[in-house]
Symmetry: C2
Subunit: 340 residues, 2 copies
């Protein structure tokens, strides 16, 4: 089968690899019907994470179940399914508390690689969720977004306690930040401030429900958020970048007692304990427990209440994955969908 | 009047200073009836914080109202009162959200100095709480603890979401940590693990409701907490020290999705963003909003439901404050009460 393989920074190829097989009785194998390129795939692509020899890529997926191991009970051959970017048993104490992305048996799907025609899904019962009905092409794109980028933006909004009466600031206008805007608004936030200086992303943020746009960054961005909130800062801030500047911007834009939900994979971030102490904000972040959110997100998509698939602004066949990586790296595309 | 003045690291003197007066119409002046030495007073005493010339000390107090400004409505001359170590208007948006320690008009009482015969209390209506009835000497000690050390331990337990069914780990066996044990137990925690290697503090932790004692620190301490919790880590962890080691110990001892309440004033602490990201724990800390908690704490003390004054293990007259600082610095005393 065909699969995306990263050979070195900047060197993405689509190659023939072995077909995946059932290894554990709790596995399923799916035929991938849509996959995509994640902002986090750019870290190794840019050499910011080490690449040790040829590496399979991708952790987002919608697909059809091809094969199931003998212990699999909740999905059947032929089912259309979505799953999280972290496979989980959805049964351990950590999963039951809603943190499936830190399941005691977790398997990072990125280590398997879903930018491929087929993929083995470990812990299929705890990972995959069946999609009811017959999704339209728009809905397929939305379901694919749910696999990571929507689930991640949603978790950030929940972690930031976005809700009625709240002003939510969103740091980062990539796909996760934009879907954080959508999530914050769906969760009832009164005011959602998107921090973006790109006209196309501002437009999408507004379509997703942003009430205000702030183009300033860093200290100037923080000052603008304070101006908009009687000097107090936002009640809730979503951090969706993962740099030192974005993390400090998020913390400093939040009022005492407010909440920061951070989902940008922090690279080179160091937080000063004393600054954090006097900020007196609630911090919650990490890999999003997408599995917790999937049933609700699938329902919202399948009932046409949200259209998160709008974040995909470039669609290419799997064989042209290298072009997709290049477009995202050069910020010509927000999020690239790969068709099969 | 007599007051404690720090002249240089290690050089505490009790001197004659000017009587405080009403400055703002919202001020009160109290006659201090009990005050004490805080762990945080040791930072400048040890030279870990700069001392710029003679500095008044102390921010904890129980007292009797002597004088009130013309705008003061909720306390009257002759009232026995307790207040927080941060004066607050208890009316601004931040106060109303329960974060009075970050009031937009906050005044740190340490900048005024309550280790003295009298003290000016800014924003008296928002800061002071009247004590009903006639407290016993034990209750006076408890009320004094409520002014900071009990309120701080209690806030840490609330921030760590200690409650029924939870296992709470407490890092730090100073007065705040010990009262964090008491708070966690009162809030309904099933299991409270005090991390201490001192027999006298272990005994007090048990008296306050600790169910387990762990003597190991650092990685070994984390490993013990994991052993006690099926490998998952504590649901809730109270950090009551403020060093790099204690902060990492607290974060690493907590399960994904768990909560860390940190109230040790962080000195030289740097948190790595990527470690924090993959820890996936809720973090909340800072100067405790004692004013939020005071009515409940006063009630618990005055109805003999808690006896937090037990943390005071050395009582000296104000004039012998220097001995008290020395005893705490040398860890011969956990918490020193100064009588007037």
């Amino acid at each position: 089968m065909r699969a995306v393989v990263l050979h070195a920074p900047g060197d993405v190829r689509v190659e023939n690899v072995e077909m995946p097989e059932i290894v554990e009785p709790s596995d399923a194998v799916i035929r991938v019907t849509a996959t995509c390129v994640c902002g986090s795939d750019l870290w190794p692509y840019r050499g910011a994470e080490e690449v040790n020899g040829p590496t399979r890529m991708g952790h987002e997926y919608v697909g059809v179940v091809e094969q199931v191991g003998q212990d699999v009970r909740t999905v059947r051959v032929g089912d259309l399914v979505v799953g999280s970017f972290v496979a989980s048993d959805n049964a351990c104490e950590i999963c039951r508390a809603g943190y499936q992305s830190r399941c005691v048996h977790q398997v990072m799907m990125g280590a398997i690689g879903t930018q491929a025609e087929y993929a083995r899904i470990p812990l299929a019962d705890g990972t995959l969720v069946r999609v009811p009905g017959e999704p339209t092409p728009e809905q397929i794109r939305g379901l694919l977004a749910a696999s990571d980028v929507l689930g991640t933006g949603w978790f950030a909004a929940v972690a930031a306690q976005a809700g009625p009466g709240k002003t939510v600031a969103v740091v980062g206008d990539g796909a996760v930040g934009l879907l954080g805007v959508l999530a914050a608004r769906r969760l009832g936030a009164e005011r959602v401030v998107a921090m973006s200086r790109h006209a196309d992303r501002q437009a999408l943020a507004k379509r997703f429900g942003a009430t205000d746009i702030v183009t300033e960054r860093g200290d100037a961005g923080v000052a603008r958020i304070r101006e908009l909130t009687d000097g107090h800062g936002a009640h809730s801030t979503i951090e969706a970048v993962g740099t030192q500047e974005s993390m400090l911007q998020a913390i400093r834009a939040t009022r005492p007692g407010g909440h920061v939900g951070y989902v940008g994979v922090a690279h080179g971030v160091e937080l000063d304990g004393l600054e954090l102490f006097f900020a007196t904000v609630n911090l919650l972040g990490g890999p999003a427990p997408v599995r917790r959110l999937l049933p609700e997100l699938i329902d919202l998509i399948m009932t046409h209440q949200i259209d998160p698939g709008l974040v995909f602004d470039l669609t290419l066949p799997l064989d042209r994955a290298a072009e997709g990586y290049r477009a995202m790296d050069e910020r010509r595309a927000t999020k690239v969908l790969l068709t099969l």
